[in-house]
C-alpha cells in the first residue's frame, strides 16, 4: 500500500495514496464543510463533481484554491483549511448560492432538514451582498415527485443517483450558465419521461428542490369526514426508521408506538402491510413453484427465472426498459395493492361498509407507491384500492402536527384481521427479504418438510448483486438478488440474453431495499443508517412467534373463507396484475 | 496518387513537385534574386517577346539560377523589341534591346552568371519601367 504524508492545518497526516483531502482532514478531526459532495460508503458511490466549491482549501504552491472533496493527497502537501482567504472564499460562494435561492425556508418542505440551511447557519450568513435575478423554472408535479427547481443548487446528486446508481437516465443537467438546471431531457415533465419514481433523487437532494407529493392534507380530510371509514396499513420498513424522525437512534423499532400514534391520529383501523406481504408470498411462492414444476416437467415455454414484483419502482423500470420481458416477472400485485384489494372487498364486506365509504391509507417508505396506488388497473369503477399513500416522513409530520409525544407512547398492537403478520412479512423491508420469505414457504410446500432453521443468511447482505443456491431437498434452487436499479439492469440483461442461471430473482429499486426507500427519513449520506434499519428488521423477524407466511392464521382463514386457494380464480382477479409496454411513453412538452 | 511507402518516395515526390511552387517561393524574397522584366506590350509580343520570356524562364530554371521573370508593359523602346530589363541585386538595372532567344542565352551566360555587360544595351537613365509609370 502506497502512503503519502502531508500537513493539514499544521497537523501531520499519513494516508493511503488516492485519499482525498476531505477524508484525510477528517481522519485528523478537521471537518471541512461540504455541500454537493455525498459519499454513499456502503454502496460505493460518491458524488463529487467539485461543483459547489464550499470545500475549497488552500494548497501551498497552487495558484487557486482546491476542492477538498476532489483533490487527492500528495506527498508533502501543506494544506490550510481555515485561512482568511479560504474562509472569505467559502463565505462568498455561499452568499452567491443563497443569492440564487428562494428565501422560503419557513414554508419549505425541507425546513429543518435542509443541508443548505444548515450550511448557511454554520457559516453564519446573515446578509447577502448580492442582489439580482433568481432562477425560475416551472414546477413539475408528477404523481410521486415534485420538482421545484428554483431551489436546485446544482449539486448533481440526483443526477448521480438517477444515472449511476439507478441507470434510469432521466435526469441530467441542461442549459448553460445561470440557466443550468437538472431536468429530464428537453425539460419534459417527469410524468412523461422514463422516471420510475424510485425517488432516489429525492433521497439525496440537499434542498427542497426535489420532494415527495404531500398527501397528508388529503388523509386528514378523509379522517375528519364522518362518512368515511379510514383504515391504514404500514409497510414493514417504516417501523425501523420512523423513530429517527423523533430523535431516536437509527435502527430503533417503533412498531408499537407507531400503531399507537396512528390510532391517536384517528385512523379507524390500524393494519399492517406485513399481512399483505404474507399474502404476497402465498401467491408469488405458488406462482414460482408452479413455473418451476413446469420447467422440471420439461415445458420449454415456461418463463424462468421468475422475478419479484412487489417493488413499484422496479415495475416502472422494466415496463419502460425491458418491455420485451413483461411476461417474466411474477404477476402478483405488491403487498400495498393486495392489501387494498382485500380491504375493499373482503374486509369491507365483513365490516359491513360500502367500498366507496372505505378509505385505505398506506404508510410507505416509498415514493413510487404513490404512483402505484393511482394506476388505473388498481381501481374499481374509478375507486382506487388504495386511496392515499404517504411516506414515513409524511407520517412523522402528521404525528408532530397532531401534537403527539411519540417517545412517550405505549406500544400497541395492530388491529385484526389484517394486522397479523409473520416474520416473513417483516423482512420484505430488506434487500433479499422477499426472496427469503418466499423460500421459507416454498421450501415447505415443495419438499413437504418442515424447515429446521428459517434464517437464510446466504440471502442477506448489502452487496448490490448477490447469488445463492438453496437446496430444496435435492433440487438446487438458484436465487439472484439485486437492489438498486443499476444492479437490476445487469441481472435483467443477463435474462434478456438468455445467460441467466437463476430460477428466481428478487429486485428492489432502492439501495438496501425498502429500508433505503426514498420516503424514509433522510440519511444525508450516512448509509450506515440503512444497515442499522436492516438489522432492526431482522430483529423484529426473530422476535416473531410465527416466521413463515403460510402459518399466518389470518392468511389461512382468508383462503378458507374467501379466496379459496393461492393463484385460484378469485386470487387472480384480486391479487394479480399485468404489465404494460411503456418504452414509448416519453412525450415531449408541447 | 501513388502511395508513398518510404521517406525516399516522399523526397522524390517533393523534388518533382517543388518546381511548381518555386515561382511563389522566389517571389517571397524578390530582393535576393535576379529580376528580369520582359516588355510584353503589343510591340514586344509582335517581335517575339513571348518566346524570349518562355526561353528565359526555362533556361534560368535549367541552370538553377534564382531569378524571377515577369512581364511588363511597353518600355518605350518599340524600335528595339523585344526588350528586357535585367536587375541583379546590388547593381543598377540594365535594359537590352532585340533580345531573341540567342541573345537571351548570351545575357544569361555572360551577364547574369559572368557579371559582364553584353552588347545591345539601350542607354537609359536607369529608371525602371515602374518608376516611369509612376511619374506618368
Amino acid at each position: 500500500m502506497d502512503i503519502v504524508k502531508l500537513n493539514i492545518d499544521n497537523k501531520s497526516v499519513v494516508v493511503e495514496k488516492g485519499t482525498t483531502l476531505l477524508e484525510a482532514a477528517k481522519s485528523v478531526g478537521v471537518e471541512i464543510p461540504t455541500l454537493c459532495h455525498m459519499k454513499l460508503h456502503d454502496m460505493n458511490y460518491e458524488n463529487n463533481p467539485g461543483g459547489c466549491r464550499i470545500c475549497v482549501v488552500e494548497v501551498e504552491g497552487r495558484r487557486n484554491l482546491a476542492p477538498a472533496c476532489k483533490t487527492e493527497c500528495s506527498e508533502g502537501m501543506n494544506i490550510n483549511t481555515h485561512s482568511l482567504r479560504v474562509v472569505n472564499a467559502r463565505r462568498t460562494v455561499m452568499e452567491l448560492i443563497l443569492s440564487d435561492h428562494p428565501a422560503e425556508c419557513l414554508t419549505c418542505v425541507k425546513n429543518g432538514n435542509c443541508e443548505l440551511q444548515t450550511m448557511a447557519q454554520k457559516l453564519g450568513i446573515r446578509e447577502i451582498p448580492f442582489e439580482g435575478e433568481q432562477s425560475h423554472y416551472k414546477e413539475d408535479k408528477s404523481p410521486s415527485i415534485i420538482r421545484d427547481m428554483d431551489k436546485c443548487i446544482m449539486c448533481r446528486r440526483c443526477e448521480m443517483a438517477c444515472n449511476e446508481i439507478q441507470t434510469v437516465g432521466c435526469l441530467s443537467a441542461i442549459n448553460r450558465g445561470f440557466e443550468s438546471v437538472v431536468s429530464p431531457a428537453f425539460e419534459m415533465d417527469l410524468e412523461k419521461s422514463t422516471c420510475t419514481y424510485c425517488g432516489q433523487c429525492v433521497a439525496v437532494c440537499p434542498t427542497g428542490a426535489l420532494s415527495e407529493v404531500d398527501n397528508t392534507r388529503k388523509v386528514i380530510a378523509a379522517l375528519v369526514d364522518p362518512s368515511k371509514t379510514v383504515i391504514v396499513q404500514t409497510a414493514p420498513a417504516v417501523r425501523a426508521a420512523l423513530g429517527e424522525e423523533f430523535g431516536l437512534e437509527p435502527g430503533t423499532l417503533v412498531t408499537g408506538k407507531m400503531a399507537s400514534a396512528l390510532r391517536k391520529i384517528g385512523f379507524d383501523k390500524v393494519f399492517d402491510t406485513d399481512f399483505a406481504a404474507d399474502l404476497t408470498i402465498m401467491e408469488e411462492g405458488t406462482e414460482l413453484l408452479g413455473r418451476l414444476q413446469k420447467h422440471l416437467d420439461g415445458d420449454e415455454n415456461v418463463k424462468l427465472p421468475i422475478l419479484t414484483s412487489c417493488c413499484p419502482g422496479w415495475v416502472n423500470f422494466f415496463e419502460s426498459n425491458f418491455p420485451d420481458m413483461l411476461d417474466v416477472p411474477s404477476t402478483a400485485k405488491s403487498p400495498q395493492q393486495m392489501f387494498g384489494a382485500i380491504a375493499k372487498s373482503y374486509l369491507a364486506e365483513q365490516m359491513g361498509i360500502k367500498r366507496e365509504d372505505m378509505v385505505v391509507v398506506s404508510i410507505m417508505p416509498c415514493l413510487a407507491k404513490k404512483y402505484e396506488s393511482q394506476r388505473p388497473e388498481f381501481a374499481v369503477d374509478g375507486n382506487p384500492d388504495v386511496d392515499f399513500s404517504i411516506t414515513t416522513r409524511e407520517l412523522a409530520q402528521m404525528i408532530k402536527g397532531a401534537n403527539i409525544n411519540f417517545e412517550e407512547l405505549d406500544d400497541e398492537d395492530f388491529d385484526n384481521p389484517m394486522g397479523e403478520s409473520t416474520g416473513a412479512g417483516v423482512i420484505f423491508a430488506n434487500t433479499g427479504g422477499v426472496i427469503e420469505a418466499a423460500v421459507r414457504t416454498a421450501y415447505e410446500v415443495y419438499t413437504k418438510k418442515s424447515l429446521s432453521k428459517v434464517d437464510f443468511k446466504e440471502l442477506r447482505g448489502f452487496d448490490g448483486i448477490r447469488a445463492a443456491t438453496i437446496d430444496f431437498d435435492g433440487l438446487p434452487l438458484r436465487i439472484g438478488i439485486a437492489h438498486g436499479l443499476g444492479n437490476a439492469r445487469k441481472l435483467l440483461e443477463d435474462v434478456q440474453a438468455g445467460r441467466s442461471e437463476f430460477h428466481a430473482i428478487e429486485i428492489m429499486a432502492c439501495p438496501g431495499g425498502c429500508i433505503g426507500g426514498a420516503g424514509q427519513p433522510y440519511h444525508h449520506g450516512d448509509t450506515s443508517i440503512l444497515k442499522k434499519r436492516a438489522a432492526a428488521i431482522y430483529r423484529e423477524d426473530e422476535g416473531k412467534a410465527l416466521r413463515k407466511s403460510h402459518e399466518n392464521p389470518f392468511i389461512v382463514k382468508l383462503y378458507d373463507e374467501f379466496l379459496g386457494e393461492p393463484c385460484g380464480e378469485l386470487s387472480h382477479k384480486l391479487l394479480h396484475t399485468h404489465y404494460f409496454d411503456k418504452k414509448n411513453k416519453v412525450e415531449l412538452n408541447p | 496518387m501513388a502511395k508513398v511507402k518510404t521517406l525516399e518516395d516522399l523526397k522524390k515526390m517533393r523534388d518533382q513537385l517543388q518546381s511548381r511552387l518555386t515561382l511563389r517561393e522566389k517571389s517571397d524574397h524578390p530582393e535576393r534574386m535576379v529580376q528580369i522584366k520582359v516588355s510584353m506590350a503589343t510591340c514586344g509580343i509582335a517581335s517575339g517577346a513571348k518566346e524570349t520570356m518562355n526561353y528565359l524562364i526555362e533556361e534560368l530554371d535549367n541552370r538553377s539560377i534564382d531569378a524571377v521573370v515577369t512581364q511588363t508593359g511597353c518600355m518605350g523602346y518599340c524600335h528595339s523589341e523585344p526588350t528586357i530589363e535585367v536587375h541583379i541585386p546590388g547593381f543598377d538595372p540594365v535594359v537590352y534591346g532585340h533580345v531573341d532567344t540567342k541573345k537571351a542565352d548570351e545575357i544569361i551566360t555572360k551577364h547574369i552568371i559572368g557579371g559582364e555587360l553584353v552588347d545591345g544595351i539601350i542607354p537609359v537613365s536607369y529608371t525602371t519601367a515602374n518608376e516611369d509609370d509612376n511619374e506618368n
Partner: protein, 597 residues
C-alpha cells in the same frame, strides 16, 4: 506538366469568401481562358493572408503585387492590365494610411513588415486542397523523418528543446505534455486536436485549418508516434464548415498518399484521424470539457488532476493540443529546436498568431515573434488607432483576458509578462480600444459573454459571473455605490480563486484589470454618476445650449419620442425624462448646439 509563368493567389478564407472570393476565383479563371493564357497563368485558391481588413486579397506571383478589396468584376482588368499589359491596377493597390501612397507588394506594407510566419507559413501560399503543394513545401517530411530516423523520445526532446508552449491559452510546455502522455502506460492512447476556437473575434485556428490543414494532420501523426497513440481526433466546431470541408479533403488526400493509415512510411506505424463536431460552446475549448463532449456527455469540465494525459478520452491517456500549437510542430522538426528557440523571449519561444481587432486601422490575423511589444503590434502592424483617435486600452487573451493600457505598451509580449500585468495570452485575441470606449462597459461586455458561456457546473462561475455582470450593469446605470466596488472586487477575486476550470478562473479578468487600470473611471460612475467616455446611456443627458440654438426645429422634428420642445427661432429644450438618448437630435443639429453632459 504545365509550367506557369505567373500564379494568381486568391484568398479562400472564410472572410474573403464571404466577400465573393469564390466569384473572384471563377472570374479570374474565366478571364485567363478569355485571354488564352491558361497555359501560363495559374489561379490558386489559398488560405487566409491575414489582412482581412482589406479583403478580398489577390496576390500576383512572381512580382508580388498585392491587390486589396478586389471585387469579382475586377478580374477582367487584373488579367488584361496586369498580366497582358504588365501594368499594375493602381486602384486595387493598398494605400498606406499615413503616407497616403500606394504600396505594391506586401513586403513593404507595415502590416506584414514585422511578421514572421511559422504557424501560418503556408496560409495564403499554397492551395490547401492540394496535398502536392503541401508536399512541395516539405510537407510530411517531418513525419517521415521522425518515423524513420528518431525514437519517440528523441522527437519529444526536440519539441521540449524548442520551448514550444501551448497556443490555446494555458501555455503549458508542449514537449512536456507529450512526454507525460508518452510515459503513461497504456495500449490505447489518443491525440486530440482542439479546434474549438471560441474567443469572439479570434480565428487563427480556423485560418490554419482552412489554409494549411495538412500541417495539423502531420503534427497529429507525429504526436501519435511520440506518445504511442494511433487515433487522432479533431474536435472542431460545426460553425466552421469551410475548415471542416478542407480537413475532410486533406484527410482523404493524406490517406490516399499513405501518410495517414496503416504502416506509414513502411515503419509499421498506424495513425488515422477522425473529425468530431462541437456545438460551439466556449467551455468546450477547455480540454476536459472537450473530451466529455466528444464522449457524448454534457460539455462541462471535471477537476484536474487527473489530467487528460493520464485519463482522457474514454479514460485513456490523451494528448490535447491546440491547432496553432500543432501547426508549429512539423517546422520545428524540420528546422530543429535551436532554430525555433532562437525566436522569442527567454520563456516564450517562437511566434504567436494574434487576431487584431477593434478600433485599429489594420484588422486581421498576424503572426509575430514572441517578445514583440504591444506598441509595435498596435501601431506598426495594426497601423494605429482608427480615425486618429487616442489609444486607450488593449484587451488580450479573449473574453477572459485583461485590459492593458498605455503603460503596458512597451512590455515584450509573452505568456509570463501578460499574466504579470493581469491579462493573459489566451488564444491570441487582441482588441484595441480608443478614448471613446467606457471601460466599465467593456468589462460588462465581456462578462455578458462569460455569463452566457459558463457551463453552470460550479457555483462561483454560474452565479458569480451573473452577479458580476449585474453589478457592472448597476454601475453603468449610476445606481452603484463605492461600497459596491469593494464587493465587486472581492467577488471577482473569489470567482478566480474558486472556480472549477479556466473559464471561471479567468472570467473576472476584464473587471479586475479595468478596475486596476482605470479606477478613476469606475469612481466617476459611482461617485459622480458620470461616464467619462460618454458611453453609458443612463448617465448622460442631451442638452441644448440656448446660446447656440437658433430654433431651426430640426431636432424636434427628428426626435422619435417628442422630447424636444420650443418655438421657431427660439432656443429649444430637451425633456430629459422623455428623452431616450438616441442621439438623433445631435446628429441632425447643424449648429453644434446639442451636447452630452
Amino acid at each position: 506538366m504545365t509550367k506557369y509563368n505567373s500564379h494568381i493567389l486568391v484568398c479562400g478564407g472564410t472572410g474573403c469568401r464571404a466577400s465573393q472570393g469564390e466569384e473572384i476565383v471563377e472570374n479570374l479563371k474565366q478571364a485567363v481562358v478569355d485571354n488564352s493564357l491558361e497555359n501560363e497563368i495559374q489561379v490558386v485558391r489559398t488560405g487566409c493572408f491575414g489582412f482581412c481588413e482589406k479583403g478580398p486579397i489577390v496576390k500576383m506571383i512572381p512580382d508580388n503585387t498585392f491587390y486589396v478589396q478586389v471585387k469579382p468584376e475586377d478580374a477582367g482588368e487584373i488579367i488584361s492590365e496586369h498580366i497582358v499589359k504588365g501594368r499594375k491596377v493602381e486602384r486595387l493597390l493598398y494605400t498606406d494610411p499615413e503616407k497616403n501612397e500606394h504600396i505594391t507588394d506586401s513586403k513593404h506594407m507595415g502590416f506584414y513588415k514585422k511578421q514572421i510566419r511559422i504557424a501560418l507559413r503556408n496560409c495564403g501560399f499554397i492551395n490547401p486542397e492540394n496535398v502536392d503543394e503541401y508536399v512541395a513545401r516539405e510537407g510530411y517530411a517531418a513525419l517521415g523523418k521522425v518515423l524513420t530516423e528518431m525514437t519517440p523520445e528523441e522527437a519529444i526532446k526536440i519539441i521540449k528543446d524548442s520551448g514550444l508552449r501551448g497556443r490555446g491559452g494555458g501555455g503549458f510546455p508542449t514537449g512536456l505534455k507529450w512526454e507525460i502522455t508518452h510515459n503513461v502506460e497504456g495500449k490505447e492512447k489518443y491525440v486530440v486536436c482542439n479546434a474549438d476556437e471560441g474567443d469572439p473575434g479570434a480565428f487563427m485556428d480556423r485560418s490554419i485549418l482552412e489554409g494549411d490543414p495538412h500541417s495539423v494532420l502531420e503534427a497529429m501523426a507525429i504526436c501519435g508516434y511520440c506518445i504511442g497513440g494511433n487515433h487522432g481526433l479533431i474536435y472542431i466546431r460545426a460553425e466552421y464548415p469551410l475548415a471542416i470541408e478542407r480537413l475532410k479533403i486533406a484527410i482523404d488526400q493524406a490517406r490516399e498518399l499513405g501518410v495517414l493509415g496503416k504502416d506509414i512510411f513502411g515503419t509499421g506505424f498506424d495513425f488515422d484521424v477522425e473529425l468530431r463536431y462541437g456545438a460551439g460552446a466556449f467551455v468546450c475549448g477547455e480540454e476536459t470539457s472537450l473530451i466529455h463532449s466528444m464522449e457524448g456527455l454534457r460539455g462541462e469540465p471535471t477537476v484536474k488532476p487527473p489530467f487528460p494525459s493520464v485519463s482522457g478520452y474514454k479514460g485513456k491517456p490523451t494528448n490535447v493540443n491546440n491547432v496553432e500549437t500543432l501547426a508549429n510542430i512539423p517546422v520545428i522538426i524540420n528546422n530543429g529546436a535551436e532554430w525555433f528557440s532562437a525566436i522569442g523571449t527567454e520563456k516564450s519561444k517562437g511566434t504567436k498568431v494574434f487576431a487584431l481587432a477593434g478600433k485599429i486601422n489594420n484588422v486581421g490575423l498576424i503572426e509575430v515573434p514572441m517578445g514583440i511589444t504591444l506598441r509595435e503590434v498596435i501601431f506598426d502592424i495594426g497601423g494605429g488607432i482608427k480615425d486618429g483617435k487616442k489609444f486607450k486600452a488593449v484587451q488580450t487573451g479573449g473574453p477572459s483576458g485583461g485590459c492593458l493600457t498605455e503603460k503596458h505598451l512597451d512590455i515584450p509580449i509573452d505568456y509570463d509578462n501578460l499574466l504579470a500585468c493581469g491579462s493573459m495570452m489566451g488564444s491570441g485575441g487582441m482588441i484595441v480600444m480608443d478614448e471613446d470606449d467606457c471601460m466599465v462597459s467593456v468589462a460588462k461586455f465581456y462578462l455578458d459573454f462569460t455569463v452566457e458561456e459558463s457551463c453552470g457546473k460550479c457555483a462561483p462561475c454560474r452565479i458569480g459571473n451573473k452577479r458580476l455582470y449585474e453589478m457592472l450593469d448597476k454601475i453603468t446605470k449610476g445606481n452603484a455605490t463605492e461600497e459596491d466596488l469593494g464587493i465587486l472586487r472581492n467577488l471577482g477575486n473569489v470567482i478566480k480563486d474558486t472556480s472549477l476550470c479556466g473559464l471561471g478562473q479567468t472570467s473576472p479578468n476584464p473587471v479586475l484589470s479595468t478596475m486596476d487600470n482605470f479606477p478613476e473611471e469606475y469612481l466617476a460612475h459611482v461617485k459622480e454618476g458620470k461616464c467619462p467616455a460618454g458611453q453609458c446611456k443612463d448617465l448622460m443627458e442631451y442638452v441644448i445650449n440656448p446660446d447656440t440654438c437658433v430654433g431651426c426645429t430640426l431636432c424636434s422634428r427628428v426626435c422619435p419620442v417628442d422630447a424636444i420642445s420650443g418655438d421657431k427661432k427660439q432656443p429649444h429644450v430637451i425633456d430629459t425624462a422623455v428623452c431616450i438618448k438616441c442621439g438623433a437630435c445631435m446628429e441632425k443639429c447643424k449648429f453644434n448646439a446639442i451636447s452630452i453632459q
